[in-house]
């Protein structure tokens, strides 16, 4: 179903439909994450991908155009590049351990360490939160700053700040 949705996203020319389909795509991948027992990630994907980004995309196409332009050149070369990359990636997965295998490197390296230390150090039942907020506190701080920077960027570019200042300036001139 993910594949079908992805193909229809590429095929559909009306951007409204594309935005809706990408929301569907996010929701489906959230389901996939639930099936893989990654509930936190699924939650984020559902909220961000299916919720917020759909609204923001709609806002964007309200400001720009509603239909895709016809591609000006043939899509053969990009298709070949994508197929080769995909083939290489699939080839790369061949010698990966089976999903959920107990002797996979993921399960042997830092995983057991965190599972052993979290009840002792932090004692919260949700290990994801413990790792994100405490052991990897720097990373999360960085992410927050990134979100903040993105917000500042959008505000400065599309700016409610600038317009207010301009209005203030004209108001001052009136006085």
């Amino acid at each position: 179903m993910l594949v079908i949705t992805a193909i229809s996203i590429v095929r559909v020319r009306k951007l409204f439909g594309v935005v809706m389909l990408s929301g569907v795509f996010s929701l489906l991948s959230a389901l996939l994450f639930v099936a893989l027992d990654a509930v936190d990630v699924a939650f984020t994907e559902a909220a961000v991908g299916a919720g917020i980004s759909t609204v923001l995309m709609l806002g964007t196409i309200a400001l720009t155009a509603r239909t895709e332009k016809k591609p000006s050149h043939s899509s053969l070369l990009p298709l070949i590049v994508v197929i080769i990359t995909g083939a290489v990636l699939v080839y790369g997965t061949l010698d990966m351990p089976n999903f959920g295998a107990a002797d996979a490197p993921v399960q042997l390296h830092v995983g057991p360490d965190y599972i052993e230390r979290t009840p002792r150090d932090i004692d919260v039942p949700n290990y994801v939160t413990a790792i994100l907020a405490s052991y990897r506190g720097y990373d999360t701080l960085g992410e927050t700053v990134v979100v903040f920077t993105a917000g500042i960027g959008v505000v400065l570019l599309l700016g409610s700040l600038g317009r207010r200042r301009r209005r203030n300036k004209t108001g001052a001139e009136d006085v």
Partner: protein
């Protein structure tokens, strides 16, 4: 969208549970899936829904631009401030164990505060991005979609 009666009524019913759920996800993040990021998004969705249905002007009268921008910075400061508080209390940056007598309580408090910082920032950023997009003039009428 002032003429869509059903949307208006349903939105009014929905907003309170959405905000409540956001708080649940925020403060129950240690015990169940979720955390600051998701809670921030859900909180922002409540305001964006209000803005979509009742119009941007109404939404901005509830939560004006300047307040959103201040809140955005406040979240990051809250997070970084918790790190600095750890420094002052004699630990490393972002080491919550020193924030209370008992290291585990300290960790709990630290996680709660920084998650709040994350949530507040994410919510404010999303709302301000929505304001920035929705506040620009060339709007398409409902029929044009």
């Amino acid at each position: 969208m002032e003429h869509h009666l059903i949307l208006r009524v349903i939105t009014k019913i929905l907003i309170a549970p959405i905000i409540l759920f956001a708080f649940y996800v925020q403060f129950h993040g240690d015990f169940s899936p979720g955390g600051g990021f998701q809670a921030g998004i859900i909180m922002a969705v409540a305001f964006i829904l209000y803005g979509l249905v009742f119009g941007l002007r109404q939404c901005k009268s509830v939560l004006p631009d300047w307040l959103v921008h201040r809140i955005m910075a406040l979240g990051v400061l809250l997070y970084a401030g918790t790190g600095v508080a750890g420094l002052i209390a004699g630990g490393n940056f972002l080491d919550y164990s020193v924030l209370a007598q008992n290291p585990i309580t300290g960790q709990h408090n630290g996680i709660l505060i920084i998650e709040l910082g994350v949530g507040v920032t994410v919510a404010a950023v999303m709302i301000s991005i929505f304001y920035a997009f929705a506040g620009r003039p060339p709007r398409i009428s409902d029929e044009d979609w």
